[in-house]
């Protein structure tokens, strides 16, 4: 089924996106089909989501990451949407322009994107346009969002809090030994 779906889905994408994307397929030794699609515009993800929704497909996960350009002079947020429909695993990749923080939500089209988008929002400080419930998912409201919020909470739970505690105790006993001595 996966093999036939490749051509049908590619046709569907062409109708929606024209030629503004690149697409490669690979099939592993077990016959499992993987599609890798690079979108020219990040907003085009909603057309891909619509095509997947026509097959009652779903979002498996969303992988945001921070990449640099070829000269390593600018950072961009790249978002990989991992989708599944009719036995096909399809990754659509979109790169946001430098400094761009707004991303179109596909939750109204694919409900299964809900938590993934909310997690992406708070861990990468992105704004979701059109998300029906853009509430915090993991982070407590007393943790401010930053561009790399993946870090603060792990720091807080990675022994940093213990240091902070001891530093406070040591500071309160001025003149006594420091925590790192």
């Amino acid at each position: 089924m996966g093999q036939d779906m490749k051509e049908i889905f590619e046709e569907k994408l062409k109708k929606k996106l024209g030629s503004s994307y690149s697409l490669e397929w690979d099939t592993d030794k077990k016959g499992v089909v993987f599609g890798w699609c690079k979108l020219a515009n990040a907003e085009d993800i909603k057309y891909v989501a619509e095509a997947v929704a026509e097959y009652k497909g779903r979002v498996m996960t969303i992988s945001p990451l921070i990449t640099t350009n070829e000269n390593r002079t600018a950072e961009h947020v790249e978002i990989c949407y991992h989708l599944y429909f009719e036995g096909v695993n399809f990754t659509a990749q979109a790169t946001l322009p430098e400094g761009e923080k707004k991303v179109v939500s596909i939750t109204p089209i694919l409900k299964s994107a809900d938590w993934h988008e909310r997690e992406m929002q708070e861990l990468y400080n992105l704004q979701l346009a059109g998300h029906p419930n853009p509430e915090r998912l993991f982070l407590s409201t007393d943790i401010p969002w930053t561009d790399k919020t993946m870090i603060p909470l792990s720091e807080a739970l990675n022994g940093a809090s213990t240091n902070t505690l001891w530093e406070k105790i040591m500071d309160s006993r001025s003149g006594e030994a420091k925590a790192d001595e």
Binding site: D28, K29, K30, G31, V32, F34, W36, K56, R58, V59, M60, T61, S63, L65, T67, C80, H82, G87, N89, T91, L110, K111, S112, D114, W115, H116, R136, L137, F138, L139, S140, M150, I151, L153, S154, E155, L157, N158
Partner: protein, 360 residues
Amino acid sequence: MSNYTIPIGPLHVVLEEPVYFKLQVEGETVKGLEIHSGHVHRGIEFLAMQRNFYQNITLTERVCSLCSNNHPFTYCMAVEKIAGIQISERAEYLRALADEIKRIASHMFNVGIVAHIIGFDSLFMHAMELREKMQDVKESVFGNRMNISANCIGGVRFDVSDESRQYILKTVDSLKKPLEEVASIFMKDASILRRTVGIGVMPHDKTVEYGLVGPVARASGVAYDVRVQNPYAAYDKLKVNMVVEKGEDVHSRVVVRLKEIFESIRLVEQCLHDMPEGPLHPDHLPTIPAGEAVAKSEAPRGELIYYARSNGSEIPERIKWRVPTYPNWEALNVMLPGSKLADIPVIVGSIDPCVSCTER
């Protein structure tokens, strides 16, 4: 009738791990809920991008305990795809064997927990006593009861001797009869049926819409099992009989897991029977080139997906994973409204949730 908002969690006697439910109730009936997570978010994805590809095998095994084998297993498959590594056929069978042994123990744990939540503690202890045999198998074969360290990039770190093979076969065979008794109680006992049939209903269409996976989805008639649709390791050679039920309720979820235990026992036997001779792993540490890959496996709770990207350095550019519990949490927004307050623990238990997995 009075309306209340009842907080359950983040720490509560009915919860095994910290999660916070804010329930809107009218009398004894749940009208709506909010789920607040994040209490055990450890930033493991961030940590994975500070360590090299080999160190991450150890790290990913510690995301969760019940499905600990599936994390390094799937991670290794993703990295092997990037590096173009084809593992030996024996290693494929051994990976499937480890997977099924863990699945039996994990499903038996959930079956026992559901009995415990209902208040049927003698059945809980019976199920846990049987599960203990699988824990013994893990300790004997892998040297540990939970984190079995079975995988490495390019193969596996363990082998099964003739003596171990006989021991595993004898142990799984000894489970069959008592398991049939446990299954029979779950199918016939009036007190269990009263607490599980028609409780926590998740309709088929909503299951598809919410993208649920694993036994929760299969109990609502969604015929999806990664081992069947997207085979990996030795599952293209093993015949996996997918278990699908149509009851859509707590009882169906337990039945799916019970039947899958029998299927896993059969798969363990098939693995041990069909496994060819061959190398276990390469005799060097392969270099991981630039590239990206997606790998999936069927963890005890359902589809687990790993995405890995390398820029050619020793440290991965991105490792992202999504555990099966992650999409299944949202099913509670459908299952709980309309149910009685007293049924909340058994409904939550029936999705076999893992908070540590979800939050990473």
